[in-house]
């Protein structure tokens, strides 16, 4: 049994697509394995001390809320990078994913600087990309798994040369609707447009992130006993079928 500390960035501002569902999945799945998990909100005026948190989470917000916290998040860029270099893991969803890139260029051409954690930038587009999505990921070499979620974004995200996506789009739009890729992976930091929320339908990803967090805390990766995930599998399959039937269409 070990203790996991999650740093939840701006929970009051970035919570639009049910981000607390993701947090609930971390908390329950940790508890079912008899680990203790504590969520600490990180907001305006707080400080990130690398090493304090094992896992970071940042969700999405509406434009107005995102603009309110963008400067504070930019200032978190350096300590976040240091924390992740030190072995902490991170999941960024939707708006949080965009804001952790290098910059976001809005419709009038103005650039909102990002935290620079992910090697990418985002440009506001005309039409929103909305619908269920299905990805294939290979976070551990040789082990391919799928992620099912829902995307709703007007921003087109472009990865820098050589940057790694989170997964390949099997159905849906993905980062920019054209590249065939979705999200970004920078070591133990993962960014994605998929909400829904993401983790209840894809518990393997929650377990992967929890395992990174425990390894950060204890120095060795845990072995997790499988949990009964029938509802999770059923919800994943409905979402995947939706992605094939109607994802990736304007």
């Amino acid at each position: 049994m070990s203790r996991i500390v999650v740093g939840h960035l701006f929970p009051d501002y970035l919570n639009i697509y049910a981000d607390r569902g993701n947090i609930a999945v971390f908390a329950r799945r940790a508890a079912w394995r008899r680990h203790e998990l504590e969520v600490r909100p990180l907001g305006l005026g707080d400080e990130i001390r690398p090493g304090e948190h094992d896992l970071y989470y940042i969700g999405g917000g509406q434009d107005r809320e995102q603009a309110l916290i963008a400067p504070a998040l930019e200032a978190f860029g350096e300590p976040l990078r240091a924390a992740i270099d030190g072995g902490a893991a991170l999941l960024a969803v939707c708006g949080g994913y965009q804001l952790l890139g290098r910059f976001y260029r809005d419709r009038s051409g103005d650039e909102l600087p990002g935290a620079g954690l992910f090697p990418l930038h985002t440009v506001a587009g005309e039409r929103r990309m909305i619908g269920d999505v299905l990805l294939e990921c290979e976070l551990d070499p040789g082990l391919r798994r799928t992620l099912a979620g829902f995307e709703n974004h007007a921003g087109r995200t472009f990865l820098d040369e050589g940057a790694k996506p989170l997964g390949r789009v099997l159905a849906g739009f993905g980062n920019d609707g054209e590249s065939g890729y979705e999200g970004c992976r920078a070591g133990r930091a993962l960014g994605t447009y998929l909400h829904g929320p993401l983790l209840p339908r894809n518990p393997w990803l929650a377990d992967w992130l929890l395992a990174q967090a425990i390894a950060h805390r204890t120095g060795k990766p845990p072995t997790f006993e499988p949990l009964p995930d029938e509802f999770e599998a059923a919800a994943h399959d409905v979402s995947a079928a939706r992605a094939y039937a109607r994802g990736g269409r304007y």
Partner: protein, 454 residues
Amino acid sequence: MPLSAEVLFARAAGRLSRLAGTGGGTTVPGKLLWKLDPGAVDRLAARLPQGSALISATNGKTTTSAMVARILSPSLRLAHNRAGANLVSGVASALLSASGAELGLFEVDEAALPEVARRLRPRALCLGNLFRDQLDRYGELELVAERWRAAVVDLPVDAQLVVNGDDPQVGDLNATRPRIVFGVDDPRHSSEELPHAADSKWCVRCGTPYAYAAVYIGHLGDYRCPACGHTRPPLDLSAREIQLNGLESVSFSLETPEGARRVELAVPGLYNVYNALAAASLARALGFRLDEVVAGLEGFSAAFGRFERIALGDRTLLVLLIKNPAGANEVVRTLVAAGAPKLLLVALNDELADGRDVSWIWDVDFEPLLGGLERLVATGERAAELALRFKYAGLPSESIDVVPELDAALDHGLELTAAGSELVALATYTAMLALRDLVARRGFVRPYWEEAAA
């Protein structure tokens, strides 16, 4: 085609739709008329001798307009889209099916409001609240607010504007024009804090978090910005001394410039106090007296699928519509106040009218139900997602039955309900329609198009 011929043709199409068994035909004639001649809607509305009144809100449109109809109908013949078909086509259909109507009373979809208002040139507009709702369809809250601001600016100069002062976004609409402002004034019913998914927490003028003297529903309450001083506007109509009576009823003192009157509503919950305040304010704007307002509100029972008790042999089915976090939170709050049920049927669909994106169920505070809940029947197209919502809230998996087919789920729920007791069902919009349809086919309730015509 002249207007009269278009009207006849479109009405015939509605009857055909019902005969063909494809649905209620509540939007078919309007859609057809819309295709034939978009300007016909404007001309039909212009024929109404008393003009039109419009109601929009994220939550409470159908109930508020049903309450207004109850107040107005003894004096006026109405064209009213009572089954909730609230896009331009639904308004057109209501205009078509109500020959001889004197006044148009229409609930209008939030996003469709600018266009409907432009075409109908209403004499009164009532705006209730703005909550996050179906982000995949409406976009972000700020977008809808922007459309409303434009619609209000474009209103005819002599049109009456009625707004909910407790909602910072709505209460700030066109604050310079004469308006009727309503709100709740009973801090005893304030929540401890803003709910998890509160929307307009930041000052609409300067972005600072509001300080609340009272929070009633979601972000609705008595707010004040500590930085710039933006505050709830003075209330013209308000509710005081609210008495909540479980799932049965609610009563309050309706305070108006004409005096105060006790009102007993036959529907429950604080959210229905807001609906009644909106209805009373709109009726007043249309020139109705306090006596008529109170009589109408007290004669109101329930709007279509919003809080319906249906007798099914020796059991009853209570159907409650859920469609977004703010509305569902109030349904949960009302259920819990009445003693949380042991058995619950919840139906989640993801059709266009429900919202394709079901993530909103994770923003609903279902947790207070867990105190008494022993069994959940999860149904609808996204039944498994619903099961996950309750599982991760802490309900043991063994207490959750996933039955995606609505028919089978209803049977299962009724089997688990003792004779003489009530099965509580929460359902999203299309699931609610399907549930009513199922019950109608079993002969227990009239189909909705007959009710709309009644």
